[in-house]
Every structure is written in C-alpha cells, then in structure tokens.
Symmetry: C2
Subunit: 377 residues, 2 copies
C-alpha cells in the first residue's frame, strides 16, 4: 500500500498495533505492520529489557512506544513527598474492602504493603516526569514512534523526540483536541472513537475521523471499532492513512491477558462493554463486570476518584482479584475486567498475532475489491 504513513514509517500495511505485550509488538512488526509497546506498566529498567528483546526479534523493522501522559492529573497527588496511596480517602478504601469481601476475594484491606508500593510506582509513571523517564529509555532504542494519550505531550518530551528524529503521535477524541495536539507538535494524530477500549471520548469513529482529517494537516490514523479488514477499509474510506488497533490483540495466542479475562472476552458480545471511571478515574471502556456495576450503580459507592488515585486503588484490587480468579474464586471472576473496545463482540477465537494481521490484510483486499465491483470501477 502507498499511504503517507506507509512511506513515513516504512511499513507495508498501515496497521499500528498497540499492546503491552512485546511478543505481539514483534509479531505485528514482523508481519508488515507497526507494533507499539504500551510502556505504562513498566519501570524504566523493565522497559529497557522489553525493548532490547524486541530489538533482537524484529531485525531492524519499525516499532514504537506508547506512554500515558494525562493532561490533567490531581497535582497534589503527584507531589513527591508523600505516598500517593496516602491521598486515597478511607471511604474509598472501605468500599474496595467491602467489594473484595462481598465477592469472596478475601483480605480486609484495600492495599497490602506490596500493592501499595507497586501502586505508588505506577502512579508516578503517569506524570510528565514519570513519562519522561520512560522516554529517555525508549530513545536509546531504534524506535520509530512515541505515542501519548490523554492530553498534549509535555514540551520536553516532544523536544527530546524531535532531537532524536522520532515522530510523536497523539491520541484524541475530538477535533478540538486534534488541533491542540498538532499545535503542540504532534506529527501524527490517532483519532479514536468512543467505541474504542481504554480511555475514550464520546464521538464515534465514523463521525470523528473525517472531521479530524479535515481539521489537521498531519496524517491521521483511525482507532476504535477496528479489528478486521472491512473496518480497516472503512477507516481509509473515511480519510485515515492507516489504523491503530488495541483490543484485537488481547485474545491472541501471545497476549498475556489473564486466562479468565481472555475467556470472558471470547464470550462477550459488543453489548458487554461499558465506559466507566471505575478503573482509572477517567472514562475508559472495558468489559462490564461486577466491579464496574458496583462502582457505577451501587447506592453505597463513593464514586470514582480522580486519576491517578482511582487507578492505584483499582490496580491494587485487580491484582488480587486476578489471582483469586485464577484460583477459581467465582466472585473474583465476576469482578474481573479489562480494557477492551466494542469489537470484543467479534473476537471469538484465539489466533496468533501474525494470523490476525494476515486475516486483516485479506479481508481488507476483499472489501476494496467488493467496493470496486459495486461501483463498477
């Protein structure tokens, strides 16, 4: 294919694959796409290890790194002198303890000492400063892209990327945000529709993409609702130069998705996701579960905290819920959830990531051919 994106990023097929799993990143890159490693779960040292592994497995083919830099976070919570978890109100800790008890996960505290420490570390990474640490590590590797979500990238980050000659991509959910990101130096815009997994806005991909394409003069990737070749063809028809997919990799052979959550995803329909603040503090689409139902609907719910506090609270609990679910706790199974888009309804079998790419290429070609046949081109 010959989109601007293909030329600029040296890929055959303009498919960007966001994953926290290095195996998926390498598999997609090796299959002719562009893998992007989600770095937020890693410490700088761990990230270095992951990227070195990728370097060894992609033979110089292009890949990138994604960091999470919220435009607005609770500044007081990001201060360096206290533990972030100290900022979580007792009422919220109590509610988590109540949920863990109610669903038989056990443990009367929202945090163990271990989860509190880990939570603190993660909370610091979703600040501009924390993200910069990850970026410094990333730039020591031959990465082809740095992507950031949730607000304009910090100027320092853009400057470092530019100096290293690495393009910066930004995820947006509105035209206004797209304009702001380009003004802040973004080289590529990922226009992400409301149907996407994870942090997402309210405007659908079908509506958002043409408006963003018309509003900015940089290449646009479409995200949200794209897990197959017909959807990729649709995205390009809307004016995108390529696509950005996250959810579809979660049920691949390589994905490190919790087995129980993987099974939930395989069984889920497109009606089984919800946009909820209960996992991170910002609206994020995920599998609907007892966790989202209780936070969003229970009369005793204290409501989600701002980011990053809710994220710390939820990640701590989710780690324990995951372990209990894997030990066969039915209540933990009800609570377990993970970020995924509405395309979960079409994720019905476990495939190797490479196969997902090949299937997408094939279905894409068939969709374009059908369109030509219908229009008599």
């Amino acid at each position: 294919m010959r989109t601007t994106i293909c030329e600029r990023f040296g890929v055959e097929f303009p498919l960007f694959a966001f994953s926290h799993c290095r195996d998926v990143v390498a598999a997609v890159t090796n299959a002719g796409g562009f893998g992007v490693l989600g770095a937020v779960a890693y410490s700088p040292g761990q990230l270095d290890t992951e990227l070195s592994w990728i370097d060894e497995h992609v033979g110089g083919r292009p890949y990138g790194v994604d960091v999470l830099v919220p435009g607005k976070i609770d500044a007081s919570a990001a201060s360096r002198n206290t533990s972030l978890t100290d900022h979580i109100p007792q009422r919220h800790r109590d509610f988590v303890a109540h949920l863990l008890g109610k669903y038989g996960v056990g443990g009367a505290e929202a945090f163990t000492r271990a989860t509190a420490g880990r939570a603190d570390e993660m909370g610091r990474r979703v600040t501009a400063e924390g993200a910069t640490g990850l970026i410094d590590v990333a730039l020591k590797h031959p990465i082809g892209l740095i992507a950031s979500a949730l607000g304009p990238p910090p100027p320092e980050m853009t400057a470092k990327a530019r100096q290293a000659g690495v393009p910066v991509a930004a995820l947006v959910g509105t035209v206004e945000h797209a304009r702001r990101q380009v003004a802040a130096g973004a080289d590529v815009i990922v226009a992400q529709g409301s149907e996407a997994g994870g942090h997402t806005g309210e405007i659908s991909t079908m509506v958002l993409v043409p408006q963003v394409v018309d509003a900015v003069d940089v290449p646009v990737l479409a995200a949200g609702g794209i897990a197959g070749g017909r959807q990729m063809a649709a995205a390009l028809a809307l004016g995108a130069e390529g696509v950005w997919c996250g959810s579809v990799w979660l049920t691949t052979e390589e994905a490190e998705t919790l087995p129980l959550v993987k099974q939930k995803m395989l069984a889920a329909t497109s009606s089984d996701t919800v946009r909820s603040r209960s996992r991170t503090g910002k609206p994020a689409r995920q599998l609907r579960s007892a966790w989202t139902d209780e936070w969003d609907g229970a009369p005793e719910s204290p409501g989600a905290l701002p980011m990053p506090l809710q994220m710390l609270l939820a990640e701590g609990a989710m780690a324990r819920i995951g372990r209990a679910a894997e030990s066969g706790s039915p209540g933990a199974g009800e609570l377990a959830t993970y970020f995924v888009g509405q395309v979960v309804g079409q994720m019905n079998q476990i495939r190797p990531a490479r196969r997902v790419v090949h299937d997408m290429i094939e279905e894409f070609a068939a969709a374009v051919e059908r369109l030509d046949r219908l229009t008599g081109t």
Copy 2:
C-alpha cells in the same frame, strides 16, 4: 451503482433518506436516492394528503414510509378507554410545569386542553393498532418500502405489506435484534449505530454493521454517523448494501425544522448531542439542551416515564417551548432540542436536499478513487 439494494429498489444510488418532510422525501427520490417519509406525526388522513403530494412530485420514482412500532409499550397506557395523558403522574406534570416556569415559557400546567388532545392522538399512533391505520393508508399509494423501528413489526403489518408486494425494513441496534427481525419477516435490515439521531442503541456503526451483515441473509443498510460520501463509502466497505440517513436532512432548505433548532444544529459540534430518555421514554440521541440536562441531572427530576407517556409529556411541552422560542424567549431557546445524530458536527450550512445528495455522490466517488489509489488497484 450495482448493489442488491439498487436493483431491488430501482435506485441509482443506495441512499435512503428518512425525513418527516415530504419535500425532502421527494427531492431525494428525484435526485436518484430513496426518500422515506416518517409517518408518526401524521393522522391517517394527513398521511394520505402527504403521500398524494409525493406521488404528484416524484413521477413514479420509488419512495417509502416509516412507522414507529415499539416492541414494548406500557400496555395499560395504551388501553382505549381512558385518555393516555391521565396516566401521567402529577409529579411529572409538576416537573414540566416547573421547567416551563423556570425558563420563562409560561403557563402553569404541563398540558393545555389542545396539547392533551394532540398528545393522546399521537400516543395512539405508536401502538400496533395505530401503526396499522397508517399502513392501510400508505398501501393505497405506490410505496416501495415500509420501515419500522423499535421492535419486530406486528405480524399483521408484515402480512399486509407482503400481500401488497411491499418490502419491509426494520431498524436494529444489535445483532440479536437483527436476527429476530429477519425471523419476523423483515426483508431489509437497517443496522443503526449508537451515533445515530433518535432512538438508538449503544453499539457504534463501525462495530455493528459487519456483525449484522455476517448474521443475516437479507441486504443491510448502515445508519448512524453517515452524512457524507466518505461515510457512505465506509459503510459499503463494512459490508452494507446502502445507507440510511436521517439527521443530515434536518438542516436542508426544505426541512421544517424549527428555525431556532436549525440554527442550534448548524452551530453544534459532535460533542453536543446526548442519548436521553427525556424526550420519548426510550434512549434517543438529540441535541443536548436545558431540557435533557434538567431531566437527566436535576436533583428534583422525577426521571423519564416509559414510552409513550414521556413522549406525550415532552411533545406537549416542546410544542409550547417551540412557540415561545420563536417569539424570542431565551429560556425557551435553552430548552429547545430535537433528535439528531453526532453528524450534527458536520452539518454547517443550509443546502437544498438535492444538493446534499449530489455532494454525497461526489464525495463517495472521490473516496473510492482514493482507496484505489492507496491500494494500487
């Protein structure tokens, strides 16, 4: 073009235009598409008049009629022996009176005698019996399609249409509903994404359409998020045989949209709609306004009634709000709203309906050509 839909419905361009305005229906049909008149606002006698006018203006070209038949309505409210408005609780009448007072629309009662009578009549039309009355009238005209939303069409309606050789289309928001509609005799499925105006589900067009196409063996039209040629090309790439558009006609020259609401729509972005029960009792996407904000967010809101009661309450109030808004009442202007999809963000100028069709054909052709260029076809 050569989709199944083009052949079966005798159109050059598989664009179905839903409108309550006969001028739009005729203009689209005459421009090579297929106009569909929304009949719910008309009595059987009025509908006869409208369809006769269309017959005189389309020279035998194809058009259709849309009725609203909710699968589930409040059965007690639909009984024939009482006024429907008698079933509206005092608390809800009081809230409407409070809103009208708060925003300076005036009148201390939720209903005047005139609006109560009109509301009653409208309420009866959204029952199976009421819809059948409209269908009897419609079948005396050379219509090419009967469409119904909100549940499987009543068997009597399908039987009458079949006897008259008129295909039946059904609007759906999930794969499950599509299967059910085909089992109930639907000849065409309109797969309508969450971004659509009016009654709508939660799954986006991008996600819904391919799943519905794979699940049923009748032609599928895509609806929701489609107001331009790129979006139409995307819909066909997703596997649809054509598209169904409603919102885009609301700001055409011909549309009888309240001038103030038309101006609101021209100014609105795609972030300015909301899915709310406050207008009909079922979730319907519309312009966000003081009406939707108050019903959905005010502490004293009693919450929306089931359909059709909320519809009667809202239509009565909206008629008065509309008149007050046209007389320059700023409060009425804040309350005024109408059904519209997220594409409202791209509806930025008043065009004749014929021009909208031509622009769509042109943009569609350019989108297909671009796709061919990118893929080297």
